[in-house]
Symmetry: D2
Subunit: 201 residues, 4 copies
């Protein structure tokens, strides 16, 4: 296989990219200035050197943003250590931070606990137990997506964490449900309406 | 214009139907059993006779479902009269009822209060004031969609109802916000995350 | 079931309409002027009286557009009788007529010949054979869609008509293939490109 | 800006990629094996060294696929030199080659001639004139997409090439129009139907 096809093959592994778009990426790069290709290549290869995974929350961070073994959030002494929010993946942290309404710490699960047992093993559940044990947060917020897999993960984590949380008096909570921005009442499902009614104010 | 084109033109006025789909409706009916066409025609024409608008909540109802001047919900003595929920349109009531979590009464606004002044006049605001004045509910729940127009309507209604609500000690509330079923954290907007965090439990 | 729900059920049978949109149609009609509902009802019921099926081409037509037992096209002596175009359904004729480039006659098959034998029987194949036998066109144009079912129907019709066409020296043809308006070369399938190359000029 | 954000920014320049998907690419790479990142980086950077642009048709090719200054197609003596097909971009050649129905040579325009004058300059029109002058093909096939820009480019090229083509007796042709695979008659535009009728057989 020649270089163009092999590169298209690698691009085709990126999330959401099919073989044709992958090929278009290659042709786009071919017509880009060599300096751009050089920078992209260096950044990709540099990920190994410049990017670390936080020893506390398992989030990826660059050595530029933090020099310690901890990411900028975990290393920030102004963050409130009594709250620990469990999210599925790194980008979820970006979404929470954009809201500017959370000042606590995070734990990146790195995957969901799928409904089918056979797929198990991706989520860092042991590491989560260890983190909760070590950090003894006053509140553990399970911040999973409200998808089938996300809700299943939430249920499983609640069961998993319950004994430890009880022992060390940590409160276990989940994000509130209700109408989201853009929701039309007409199309809202019963569960969402129930929560929206309960949470009215 | 011949009958086929005229009927297609009328179907083209139905919400979400373009000229081509309207024409397909006509061809579909042409190939349907005459009995189906007859029943559909009779039901459409019968709407005037068999359907009334509730004098209390302005909801449409059939004379089959209620014999009085009030719809089945307003006529139902088991409903809690201390809550009045304001919705935009009839189908919104269906969505709330499906959730099985509301036992109070409704008021159908019949339209939204658009952001542009020039479009005003659709929502039954005077009738709403009159209904609140007459029924003196302990709580008025504004249950509008979380769209731009819905949120604007909610704000306007709150302002409109505030003096009267204060006078008769009615609580004014809105549906709770948060993550809806299906929401992915990664794509949730800051406002939704803020509410979801506030409403966690 | 009450009148509103029954009407929604009937609307839900129209092509492409789900239960929710059907219900919106009902609410839309409830809020429409009674005169519009009356006209729609009369037009729907009148379809039986005012619409006939052409005895030659099986197309539906209104008695307003033609008084005879034949539709306006079949009754039009200016149309060229030596060409007979076979289409799947009435709306296909509208598309051809919009192009203004065909002056011959039509035959509406009323369905396709599906790939799975078990579904057979919808297309008026016997009537087509009879029409070709009676009208002895110089050319029979098979104008089916280029979908799997359409192409299968085309193949089957070609086989079916071949002996008779040969006997009476009728030419059997199909619509030309090539790039359609909007086609992007990059996404064109090999078959289309092959035809486009062959048909270049 | 740190390395993660800068890489996301560069990925965001790839065709069809927004800032969020660009960020997902970065996180995907972070979790990929270092060997994959290394290979991708080397392939991207290597594009400059291993990829050349054909001096005849302006197509990109790897030094693996051809050692000369010409791409594998231009260097292939079995190709018919009397036909020259003008395409917009490299991937269009892939589509034509997949059809297996063209044995001539190509010329990659490298862009379209946009309807708005102000955007001019991308298409290699001077190089095309020079190529036609030098190679004197018997036929020049304009194989542009049937989009607004593609059709405009086709018209402009025809005008541009006409004097030279006339002088050296080159035939100027365009790809044939008609129904493409998947086309439904009902939705076909008049222009396509006209061509399909003309090209029937």
């Amino acid at each position: 296989m020649n270089a163009l096809n092999r590169l298209a093959e690698l691009f085709g592994k990126l999330p959401g990219i099919g073989p044709r778009q992958a090929k278009r990426f290659v042709y786009y790069l071919l017509q880009s200035p060599p300096a751009m290709r050089k920078e992209m290549a260096e950044l990709i290869e540099g990920l190994s050197k410049e990017v670390r995974q936080c020893e506390l929350c398992y989030r990826f961070y660059t050595t530029e943003s933090s020099n310690s073994k901890r990411c900028a959030i975990c290393a920030n002494e102004a963050r409130e250590t009594e709250s620990l929010m469990v999210v599925e993946k790194d980008v979820d942290i970006d979404a929470i931070e954009r809201s500017g309404s959370y000042k606590g710490l995070y734990f990146v699960l790195g995957g969901i606990i799928p409904v089918l047992e056979s797929k198990k093993g991706l989520a860092r559940t042991k590491e989560l137990l260890r983190a909760v044990d070590a950090r003894k947060p006053k509140e553990i917020i399970l911040a999973l997506s409200l998808t089938t897999d996300g809700e299943h993960t939430s249920d499983q984590l609640r069961e998993l964490l319950h004994p430890l949380a009880e022992k060390q008096s940590s409160k276990l909570s989940v994000l509130g449900r209700g109408l989201s921005t853009g929701s039309e009442l007409e199309y809202a499902d019963p569960e969402t309406i129930k929560s929206a009614l309960k949470g009215r104010g």
